[in-house]
Symmetry: C2
Subunit: 331 residues, 2 copies
């Protein structure tokens, strides 16, 4: 382990007290121009930088933030993480990426660690989380909750509009029995997308039918694939599918394909997130684009503001979405 130079050594080399060095570093004033220069010179010469751990021990928090993500293998989340990390890093924060696998136990353990490690901020990417009891500045993405912590803020894309746009697209293309695949759990972003789905149906004089709402406990490709196979074997009929996420859409696509259903000729299909795979799929899939870069910026900006003591906005911040029409909804 490489031993690094300490503030004390700097103070000796600069022939001042350790307190003065600290003041210069933190620009706390109460030092002369000359001493400042001298100290800064010694610091530069020795390539010194303060020990974040010692700072953390004193301040009771580190300049690190934890990001809790349900599935780091999902491109949608990595694009979000990328944007968040980039913005936080520029502001001097390092990032713990904690993959929870949608497992409550793992999530709790990560949270515990984050708390012990005194991260100064937390970011939750959409998922089903237990009630958070910590009072660390937090940003929730795509997870509206009624029981909001006092210093938490929420950023979410406009899921209602997204669901609405995807559904409307298929209605306009002639679909009348649109299946919606979504989460069985009370996850706000999925609930909102479903709301948009209903809204579009209503506009077309239709009502949502329970048998056309397919719910999943886990939101992976495989689950969607299995569920769709089940539904098809049961003989349910539909002429459109709005999947709550792109990976669900991919699962539906695969199952339908294997059942000899042609897309878009027999059934229209739309997903959500706009991950790369949808555009390269054998039949490119219509989807809703979420502006991850903008969301990442907002996350960083709001989190940092909250960390600095500003009261977070109570109202969720909504980022617009737009439809990306592709072959799967255009015969």
């Amino acid at each position: 382990m490489q031993k690094t130079i300490s503030m004390k050594e700097i103070s000796e080399k600069a022939d001042v007290s350790i307190a003065t060095v600290s003041r210069v570093i933190n620009k706390n004033g109460r030092y002369s121009k000359e001493t400042e220069e001298r100290v800064l010179r010694v610091i530069a010469e020795n390539n010194y930088q303060p020990n974040p751990i010692a700072q953390g021990l004193r301040a009771q928090h580190m300049k690190n933030v934890g990001i809790l993500v349900p599935d780091i293998k999902n491109e949608f989340f990595t694009k979000l993480i990328y944007a968040i990390e980039r913005n936080l890093f520029e502001a001097g924060y390092e990032t713990f990426v904690c993959n929870t696998d949608e497992d409550e136990t793992i999530e709790k353990r990560h949270l515990q660690m984050m708390q012990s490690q005194k991260v100064c901020g937390l970011v939750f990417l959409s998922g089903t989380t237990p009630k958070l009891t910590v009072s660390i500045p937090t940003v929730y993405i795509d997870r509206i909750s009624t029981e909001v912590s006092p210093n938490a803020c929420m950023i979410t894309s406009d899921n209602v509009t997204g669901g609405y746009l995807a559904t409307k697209e298929m209605l306009e293309q002639g679909a009348r029995r649109i299946l919606h695949m979504t989460s069985s759990k009370a996850v706000s972003c999925y609930a909102e997308r479903c709301e948009g789905y209903r809204k579009a149906l209503k506009e077309f004089g239709l009502t949502s039918k329970d048998e056309l709402i397919a719910t999943l406990d886990e939101l992976h490709y495989q689950n969607a694939y299995d569920k769709m196979n089940l539904l098809l074997d049961e003989g349910i009929s539909f002429d459109g599918v709005f999947a709550g996420s792109d990976w669900l859409a991919m699962g539906c696509y695969q199952a339908m394909k294997e059942h000899g259903i042609r897309i878009p000729e027999d059934v229209l299909l739309a997903g959500y997130d706009d991950i790369s795979i949808t555009s390269f799929n054998a039949v490119p899939i219509t989807t809703i684009h979420q502006q991850v870069t903008e969301m990442g910026q907002l996350v960083a900006k709001n989190l940092i503001a909250t960390i600095k003591g500003e009261a977070p906005q109570k109202e969720p911040i909504r980022v617009p979405v737009y439809l990306v029409p592709r072959k799967s909804t255009r015969k």
Copy 2:
């Protein structure tokens, strides 16, 4: 900020000295059975856990490891990160994921932070890195280097065999002029894949031709796409393409498709990594599967061993790969 209970408070509640509490926690002996029980009980009752920052300040290192990754948006890397993180977490380590964007400056700044933050281990995922001057236990993945740090070990998949298998597949399917797209920089994994490419050619009585080696400064989809467009416009002829990674293969695919080239009828195509998108592509793409789960386990195992003081293995550890034949090489 939530104030947590300290060791001192535990010692008071248990009516022992703080030193004894420390000894019990670290199982350093020199305490009686009764005191141990009492201390452990108080610890449990108060849900106490040691402050990692204070521990870190004393020990001069934290139980955290940094992972440096060139592109966190690439599924291949996230699968690797997933496996690494999972294994390290089970062993009690938290992980800093540092995205470098293949930018040396950013990488250096991350490294500097990791060093300041006293991570106890470092993992480099394939990329072009400057010489590392720190002596932190390190694992390199897919980045063989001659100038190895004393406590670094290397894990890599069998890239030579991978390149060989991909190329041989196309040769067996009749291709004779196979273009190879690879990195312009001296990145070991790409160099090795190229070596496998040559080896296969040789076996078929062919030699590699310079005009059939296309190099890229940056290894993204867009660069491959642009390069392939350029080559096609120049009129270079070939009947097979071995791309050094799946995203490069996707870029080649797209450019060829837009030039009216049919795959596999006119040109065969193979990639490397086996990311999801290759199997869902309009023409599923043949690729080389890397066993990321196994690699992640090996990374964690070896890193932890090195952290604990064992001398790391000098020889690179090679993980087998296998060919995943798909439509892009089967007419």
